[in-house]
Amino acid sequence: MGEKLYLYPVWLRVWHAFNAIFFLVLLVTGISMQYSSPDLIIVPFELAVASHNIAGIGIAIAYLFYLFFFIGSSNKQHYKIQLKGLVGRLLTQMRYYIFGVFKKEEAPFPTSENMKFNPLQQFTYVGIMFVIFPVLILTGIPLMFPELIVDNVFGIGGTLLTAILHAAAGFIASIFLVIHLYFATMGSTFTSNFKSIINGYHEVH
C-alpha cells in the first residue's frame, strides 16, 4: 500500500455525490426524451420531463455550491492550465496511457498534494467544469421556459438551436462520464479511486 494524500475535502465529496446522482438522472431521462417513441419507453414521458426538470435545477444549484467553495479554497490551483508546453505534456500523458501503462512505467505526472490532475485530466476537467457545464445550464434554463427564447435566429428556430446545443453538450458530458468511470479503475488498485471519493484519501501508486 502506498502513501495516502488527503486530496478530496468534505465539500468536494458531498458535491461530487449529488452531482453524480443528478447527472445520472439527467442522462437517463434526457436520452429517454430525445428518443421517445410509443414502442420503446425507457422512462414514461411525463415522468421523464418532470424528473429532468428537477434534476436539472438540482445540478445547477450543486454547481453554484461547487463554484462557491472552488473560489474560496485552494482547489483552484489544480485547474490552472500552463499553456507553455501543454501539447507536449498532453502527448506524454497519452503515450503513457496507450503504451506506458502496459510496460508498468512510472506515471509521468504523479498525483501530488499540489497537483492532483495529470495534464490530460486537467485539460478535460477544465473543459467540463467551465465550458460544458455552463453551456448545459445556460441552455437548460431557457428550455424550461421556452416562451422566453427568441423565435428565430437566422431562419432557424431559437428553441431548436438551444436544444441542439443542449443535446450536444449533454453528449460530450456523457462521453466524459464513460471515460471518467473507466479511468477511475486505473488507481493503485481497481477500486481504490472509488474508495477515495468516499473517504477523501488518494492512494498513491
Binding site: P38, I41, F45, E46, F102, K104, D151, L160, A163
Partner: protein, 311 residues
C-alpha cells in the same frame, strides 16, 4: 404589352375596383351602425337625432371583415336587402341563413377543401350530436371574421392562434356558450392542468390536434370526439413519427415533399418538439463516436487485464 390588351386590362381592373367600392359603400351603410359602439338615427316622431349603444353581439369588427375569406361580399349578399331600412323589420330575425354547403357544395372550385367530407365529419362531432341543427358551421367560422389558416404561408404560431380562437371564442365566453348550454363553460386552463408548459402548448398546438383524429380525405378534421377519446399520450406527439405530421404539419409536409422529395427540416425549424426533432446526421455521428469510445476502452481494459497479469 400591346395597347389593346392594356386598355382591356385597365377596364377589367377598374370594373373590379368598382365592384369592390359598391360592396364597400353598401357595407359602409351597415357599418356606420354595426361597426360602431354607438349608432344614431333620425327619430321621425320627435324630429331629433337619437344616439343609442350598439348591442356588442351585433357589433361587426370592420378590420376583421376586411380579412375574411368572404371579404369581397356585401352584407346583403348573405343578409336580406331589407336590412337597408331601419328599424329593421321584426320578421327579418326569422330569416334563414345560408349554410356553407349552399354555396360551396358540389362546386369544383372548392374541391380541394372537400366541403361534403367536412360536413359529414362535423355531423359526427360531439357538438352536432348534442345540439343538432342548433350547432352549425358558423358557430366556429365567424361569418364576419373567418380566415384561412393552415393552407396559407402563415407561421405555425399564427395558424394555431387563429384555429384555437375559433374554439375559445365560445369555450371561453359564457354568453356564446350559454346560447347552447345551461352550464357555464369550464375553465380551459383547469381542464388541462395535467399538461405541463400549458401556455407553450396552446401556442404551438391546436385544440383539434388533440380533440379529433386525423381523417385522410380532409385537411382539417372536423369530428370533435368525446372528451374521453381526446389525445393525452405525450409520446403520440413527442416522437419521431408524431401525429402532428399528419395534422398540424401535414400541409407543409406535403408541400416540401412535392418540392424536394423528402420532408424538409424547415417544417420543424419553427419550433422544437422534444422527441420529434431528430437530426439524423447528428444521431449517426454521436452513435459512431460513442461506439468508437467504448471499443477503445474495451481494448484498453483487455490489454490491461492480460498484459499486466503476465508480468
Amino acid at each position: 404589352m400591346n395597347k389593346r390588351f392594356k386598355t382591356q386590362w385597365i377596364l377589367a381592373l377598374s370594373l373590379f375596383a368598382f365592384s369592390l367600392t359598391v360592396s364597400g359603400q353598401q357595407n359602409q351603410q351597415c357599418l356606420q351602425c354595426h361597426g360602431q359602439v354607438f349608432y344614431e338615427y333620425d327619430n321621425e316622431w320627435t324630429g331629433l337625432k337619437d344616439k343609442r349603444p350598439m348591442n356588442p353581439f351585433y357589433h361587426i369588427d370592420s378590420v376583421k371583415m376586411h380579412q375574411t375569406v368572404h371579404k369581397a361580399f356585401a352584407c346583403t349578399d348573405c343578409h336580406s336587402p331589407e336590412y337597408e331600412t331601419f328599424p329593421h323589420s321584426g320578421e327579418l330575425r326569422m330569416e334563414e341563413k345560408y349554410a356553407c354547403i349552399d354555396c360551396h357544395g358540389g362546386d369544383d372550385t372548392y374541391a380541394q377543401f372537400n366541403f361534403e367530407g367536412i360536413e359529414a365529419a362535423f355531423m359526427e362531432s360531439v357538438h352536432y350530436k348534442a345540439n343538432d341543427e342548433k350547432f352549425n358551421c358558423w358557430m366556429c367560422h365567424d361569418p364576419h371574421g373567418y380566415q384561412l389558416g393552415l393552407r396559407t404561408d402563415e407561421s405555425i404560431k399564427s395558424v394555431v392562434s387563429l384555429s384555437n380562437q375559433m374554439c375559445l371564442d365560445c369555450h371561453d365566453n359564457k354568453f356564446k356558450y350559454g346560447l347552447l348550454s345551461d352550464d357555464l363553460p369550464k375553465d380551459i386552463a383547469q381542464i388541462h392542468a395535467w399538461l405541463p408548459n400549458q401556455g407553450n402548448h396552446f401556442n404551438k398546438v391546436r385544440c383539434i390536434d388533440c380533440h379529433t383524429k386525423v381523417e385522410d380525405d380532409i385537411l382539417v378534421s372536423h369530428k370533435i370526439l368525446p372528451k374521453t377519446e381526446a389525445l393525452r399520450n405525450c409520446v403520440d406527439c413527442h416522437s419521431a413519427n408524431s401525429v402532428l405530421m399528419e395534422s398540424l404539419y401535414a400541409h407543409r409536409v406535403k408541400q416540401s415533399r412535392a418540392q424536394s422529395g423528402f420532408i424538409n427540416a424547415t417544417i420543424l425549424n419553427e419550433g422544437y418538439m422534444i422527441g420529434a426533432n431528430r437530426n439524423t446526421t447528428l444521431n449517426v455521428v454521436s452513435i459512431v463516436l460513442f461506439g468508437l469510445l467504448v471499443l477503445g476502452l474495451s481494448i484498453h481494459l483487455i490489454l490491461r487485464l492480460t498484459l499486466l497479469k503476465k508480468k
